[in-house]
Amino acid sequence: MASRFLFKKSKSGFTLVETIVAIGIGLLATTMLFYIFTFGLRNIQTIKNTEKLHSEANFLLNTFTYWIKQGENVTTSGSTLEIEFPDLPLKTITKSVDDRVTLDGTPITSDDIQVTDLNFTGMSRSVQIRFTIEAKNGDENFSATTTIAQRGI
């Protein structure tokens, strides 16, 4: 009786086995598509974050270079850099408590980026800079160590 019910051929609808198989295949296909699109979206977000970190890093370095090259004397103390100019007020670059880089108190990094490490080391006529920036909405980070020389006397 049961086998007649399960495998009964009918022209008016699907059998139970056909329905179960179809649902199984549908679930499998949905799971696969969901996984593929989630994977795709996550990676697109990773790429966007990395690009953002690159542009932030370039902007930071350009800003440091702009001011250090103009400076007459520089003073470093951990994450703080003070630059003296012959004809401009003192400029202070530092890492704020909310993990942003500030120039005279004004943030110069985006609010979706956090600076986890910033260190200035004063050399004879240059400043060695080490920094790490991270995307707040992801695991991506970018760290670099570089040096910027002061302009010739």
Binding site: G122, R125, F142, T147, G152
Partner: protein, 160 residues
């Protein structure tokens, strides 16, 4: 009566025919190909992104060599522009004392950073004793091919 007439053979829902094995295989193959193309595109874009990141870092490390040479131009004038000539072939920067850069020759070849970047700087003589040429080179593998980048600058003696 004609209004309710529905020919059984032409109706899609009442058609008892299923897919043939060939149709099913073709469908599955097309779907698999689409998924493969999609995932490989994403994988490729990640690889390009990583290559781009290495390029950005390589530029920073390369520029650093030139900046250190510019530091030495001002802070180690007596060494760089020493009478009799100074040259450093395939060298890399080191901190010899707090706040003091120096260049040292590398017996084993260029300096390696992050197990990826190989960089070196060469200070060479020009026809003028008061002018030196600094050539910085960095090479790295970006995931696709070996890359090399070079920057050159002149170091000038401005007098004591």
């Amino acid at each position: 009566m004609i209004f309710f007439y529905r020919p059984k053979k032409s109706s899609f829902l009442s058609n008892n025919k299923g897919f043939s094995i060939v149709e099913a295989l073709v469908g599955i193959t097309i779907a698999a190909l689409l998924i493969l193309v999609f995932t490989s595109l994403i994988a490729q874009s990640i690889k390009i992104n990583q290559a781009n990141m290495k390029g950005v870092k390589a530029t920073m490390y390369l520029q650093e060599l030139i900046e250190i040479a510019k530091d030495l131009e001002q802070s180690a004038t007596s060494t760089i522009f020493a009478p009799g000539g100074y040259s450093c072939d395939v060298c890399h920067p080191i901190v010899i004392a707090p706040g003091v850069w120096d260049l040292t020759n590398i017996p084993g070849g260029p300096e390696t950073l992050e197990d990826t970047f190989h960089r070196s700087i060469t200070i060479g003589n020009t026809g003028d004793d008061n002018v030196k040429m600094a050539t910085a080179t960095i090479s790295w593998y970006d995931g696709f091919q070996n890359q090399t980048s070079t920057l050159e600058t002149y170091l000038y003696y401005y007098g004591q």
